[in-house]
């Protein structure tokens, strides 16, 4: 029963802060609400017995990526309203893109079979030991390939960021 209340609480926090990301006037508030959303999602992962995913979620998204977002917003000082022009064209593009995303979400939810979902509390795959064993045996090739992809992205970023020596 306790878990149900926790789930409801976390869901409310996640939905509210996700809404506030869009509704906040100041960019910095949006960034902070997005961080709060990530924390609520990490709580959901713990409820699903996926502790490793939860803590990595916090480290990577809340601890690194959002800090960089905050950093950028602070440095550019994007604090004034009306800095981004909201023309008709932008609004139409945003409406179409958002509508398409909505259709995709509805479509994926409709094809999703709720009956096959196993009880998350029994599932042990999210525990770090089981996850590691699965990743390094069954999914070794995709795992290594994605790490090479990350490495090349990192090298690319360094190359792009480096000043030209003339």
């Amino acid at each position: 029963m306790f878990q149900v209340y926790l789930f409801l609480f976390l869901s409310c926090v996640a939905l509210f802060s996700a809404m506030m990301v869009l509704l906040s006037k100041k960019p910095i508030h949006s960034v902070l609400y997005l961080t709060l959303t990530f924390f609520a999602l990490a709580g959901h992962y713990i409820l699903l017995n996926a502790q490793f995913l939860a803590v990595v979620h916090v480290i990577v998204y809340a601890g690194a990526i959002m800090v960089l977002f905050l950093f950028t917003v602070m440095l550019l000082n994007l604090n004034k309203e009306g800095q981004f022009p909201k023309t008709k064209l932008v609004k139409i593009i945003a409406a179409i893109a958002g509508g398409l995303l909505f259709v995709v979400l509805i479509g994926s939810l409709k094809s999703f079979d709720l009956a096959t979902v196993s009880n998350p509390a029994v599932s042990q795959i999210g525990l770090v030991k089981n996850l590691g064993k699965t990743l390094f045996s069954q999914y070794l090739l995709p795992f290594e390939l994605s790490s090479i992809l990350f490495l090349s992205a990192m090298v690319g970023a360094v190359m792009l960021g480096k000043k030209d020596k003339e």
């Binding site: 100041k26 910095i28 902070l32 961080t35 502790q51 490793f52 803590v55 990595v56 916090v58 480290i59 809340a62 601890g63 690194a64 800090v67 960089l68 905050l70 950093f71 602070m74 440095l75 525990l127 770090v128 030991k129």
Partner: protein
């Protein structure tokens, strides 16, 4: 089951109070040690040996004028110090303060949460520690505060990487992410520091950078930035920032002691012939002695070394510590495979 929940709640309260009291007296110890290093007496007016000085400081901070800059973002301005304090206190949840106490049929572990991702939890708490400083620095709407916040963010992200790499070598050796297991494996004198000297060095340097202590206190570097991220803060809000630095020091010292210096383990633990409960209590005292030593190390370095320059700090983090930590991981892997224990 109920008695365990009651016990855990009690333990949480005791550890919180203990962190606060130790941080309080760490401020006095810092000033006394600074006095010793500079050949003067340090605070000695309030109480015997200045023992009431932290209380006097606290009272003073409470009664100072509460000042809010007119152009500050009100909510975030208050959120900054609160968040710093909250996150500083979070880290103590997974540290094993001692072995178990057995009373009757009940076994009471001296650890709040023995989660199987303990090391990662600590890492997560460190990585979100920068929010309080960034929010406070930005919302003050002062260029010096903003510079301090930006410096804090880039410094903490840079040093987090090397810290994580140093931790990975420990995890490789112990084969567990649980702090309880890592400490239990260092039984007697089999401390990790003998096997991981490079990792220990990297970890300690990164701990200094993460707590914003000299020689890495660039975010609050007073010769360049007045007060850094807390320039605009006064009264107890400033107190929270200053105080959380000492709590961070306490938690970092506890982490260093648990990860590298065997936590509650001490040499000849089996030869003493004491009962299990007594050994636990002695072990806890030993752990606190180790923590005390590392807190002294923090202060010792602060009053000995000058501050780094900002570009030196970044170069040191990225070009020295990070490669060193990666080499350490490779070396640990090779040696571990060659001489399987």
């Amino acid at each position: 089951m109920d008695i365990q929940i009651l016990y855990k709640s009690g333990l949480i309260i005791v550890i919180l109070l203990l962190s606060l009291v130790i941080a309080m007296y760490a401020t006095l110890a810092e000033r006394k040690i600074a006095g010793f290093f500079q050949d003067r007496l340090g605070p000695n007016r309030a109480g015997i040996f200045g023992l009431l000085q932290p209380v006097a400081d606290g009272v003073k901070l409470f009664f100072k004028e509460e000042f809010m800059p007119a152009t500050a973002d009100k909510f975030l301005y208050i959120l900054g110090p609160s968040l710093t304090m909250l996150i500083a206190l979070l880290g103590s949840a997974v540290i094993p303060w001692g072995n178990t106490l057995t009373i009757g049929n009940n076994v009471f572990p001296l650890q709040v949460a023995d989660v199987n991702i303990g090391v990662l939890y600590v890492f997560a708490v460190t990585s979100i520690g920068v929010y309080g400083i960034m929010i406070g620095g930005w919302s003050s709407n002062n260029k010096y505060a903003l510079m301090g916040a930006v410096r804090a963010a880039s410094q903490m992200i840079s040093y987090e990487l090397a810290m994580g790499m140093a931790l990975i070598a420990i995890v490789m050796m112990s084969g567990s992410l649980s702090l309880h297991d890592i400490v239990a494996q260092q039984h007697g004198i089999h401390w990790n520091v003998w096997y991981q000297p490079i990792g220990f060095f990297v970890f300690v340097v990164c701990a200094f950078a993460e707590t914003n202590r000299t020689p890495f206190d660039l975010p609050e570097c007073d010769s360049e930035l007045i007060g850094g991220y807390h320039t605009e803060y006064s009264s107890m809000k400033l107190g929270f920032y200053l105080f959380s630095e000492y709590i961070n020091m306490f938690i970092s010292s506890a982490m260093i002691a648990s990860l590298y210096f065997g936590g509650y383990n001490f040499p000849f633990i089996n030869e003493l012939g004491m009962s299990h409960n007594w050994l636990t209590i002695v072990g806890m005292l030993v752990l606190f002695a180790k923590i005390g030593f590392f807190m002294f190390l923090f202060m010792w370095v602060r009053w000995t070394l000058p501050r780094f320059r900002y570009d030196q700090l970044m170069r040191f983090g990225w070009k020295v510590l990070l490669p060193l930590a990666i080499v350490n991981i490779v070396a640990t892997g090779v040696i571990y495979e060659l001489f399987k224990k």
